[in-house]
Amino acid sequence: MRALPVGAHALLVEVASAGQARALHAELLRRRAAGSLSAREIVPAARTVLLDGVDDPVRRAAELTAAEPPPAPEATSVPVELPVRYDGPDLAEVAAHWGVSAREVAEIHAGIEFTVAFCGFAPGFGYLTGLPEHRYVPRRATPRTAVPAGSVALAGPYTGVYPRASPGGWQLIGRTDAVLWDTAREPAALLAPGTRVRFTPVGAA
């Protein structure tokens, strides 16, 4: 674990794995809630957690890297369930990568419990981890200019759901009617870092 300087008011704590990033993020949120850490933004990502809006990043850096964070607490809440029609345009390509049938892609994907590692790309877009390494697939060589909202997709170690129509380069395996992002709702984001997620097949796979 090491802390990297980021300008005058931020620092980036780098760890060795996605699991450690999740544990660190949970610990930093706990400290902020307890009042022992003041930061405007605590933003997890693949191997890092950013603290932005901190008073003395140099002093904080020494403090934060003094001890490994405790393991992330076991989630007690039930996972968010997202109903999915596994009929995406890249289903056959993903099936070929995995060496299974299209129907088995749905069974495998729906059989995994995922966790939101971090958000980015668009409001409410979560990068979900949980895929075993032999299920990683590359991005599409040519991104699509328009991916429909609710598209369930795969890229690298992640699965995710497009919260709104946008360009995108991930492999599309299905669609959900779940609303991932709605600013009229509280909270606006269905998925936040740490949220557990299960996909449930609906309709003909």
Partner: protein
């Protein structure tokens, strides 16, 4: 009932509603957004008696024009520009009264890029996640102004400032940005870091509210491969594969996968927002 509103007569190239943005949601992928030149936005708010949180309009190079549905006090600041009310010249950088039915014209900037227009009571569009700012990256907040659109105006909260004109910094003839190294300076060659902090760049015409783009020496990486996505801050200098530094402004993405060799001091970003394409640009290394 008074109809406190402004009707857009000429939207201009890109005029958006801005305030202090929506920080605190970066972990959900929500950019901070907000005025690119916060001191200018704060000043025009103060001139009309608004709180610093009130929403203002941010124009881009060619101004805008609005018809007042009821008498309002306004102030224009930021990039210097001619101001006219009902066809008559009016002061820039000072409170100005606009009568019911009159048109306020914010002219093309004579220097700088972004002028700010405050109206007493603030632009009262519906807030999203606590902010009325237009975020051009994620589409949150109201869309950019369009001709004919009606902007509601809130009730004034305090009297306008009692002064004739307020001093404002001139847009930069040369943009000097203080930077501190990190977090990913080790992804670049020593020569690249020397080039970044000693040679002259120019502000590119391709910039926008998401980032200020540059033209100049390309920065060579010391390592290949991909950086796992990490969170980005305001003022981060991102270096995409073309090697040209890009400085993240208010609508920047919350995460990114291109390495950041250095970060611009936040106090220097308002000047960056006012630097026209072609402006010479130097990055000056400062110690943390």
């Amino acid at each position: 009932m008074t109809d406190r509103a402004l009707v857009v007569v000429r939207a201009g190239a890109l005029t958006t509603v801005q305030d202090r943005g929506r920080p605190g949601h970066a972990h959900l992928g929500v950019p901070r957004s907000g005025a690119l030149d916060p001191p200018a936005a704060a000043l025009v708010n103060r001139l009309v008696g608004n709180s610093p949180d009130a929403a203002v309009l941010e124009t881009t190079l060619d101004g805008c024009a609005l018809r007042a549905r009821s008498a309002v006090t306004v102030a224009v600041g930021g990039a210097p520009c001619p101001v006219r009310v009902g066809g008559r010249p009016a002061p820039w950088g000072a409170p100005v009264r606009v009568s019911s039915g009159e048109v306020l014209e914010v002219g093309a900037a004579v220097a700088g890029v972004r002028s700010y227009l405050a109206v007493a009571g603030g632009v009262a569009v519906e807030p999203v996640l606590g902010s009325r700012a237009t975020d051009l990256l994620s589409g949150l907040g109201p869309p950019p102004l369009a001709d004919g659109r009606v902007l509601p105006v809130g009730p004034p909260t305090a009297a306008p400032a009692r002064l004739d004109t307020a001093p404002q910094p001139a847009p930069p003839a040369e943009l000097v940005l203080r930077v501190t190294l990190g977090p990913r300076e080790d992804w670049f060659t020593p020569q690249a870091l020397r080039d970044l902090t000693t040679r002259t760049y120019r502000v590119s015409a391709a910039g926008n509210r998401i980032g200020l783009r540059t033209e100049g020496p390309t920065l060579e990486r010391a390592r290949s491969g991909e950086l796992p996505s990490e969170a980005m801050v305001l003022g981060a200098i991102q270096v995409p594969p073309d090697g040209l530094p890009l400085i993240f402004l208010a609508d920047h993405p919350t995460t990114g996968g291109y390495p950041v060799p250095a970060v611009v001091h936040p106090a220097d970003l308002p000047g960056a927002a006012q630097a026209r394409p072609g402006t010479p640009l130097r990055f000056v290394l400062v110690r943390r």
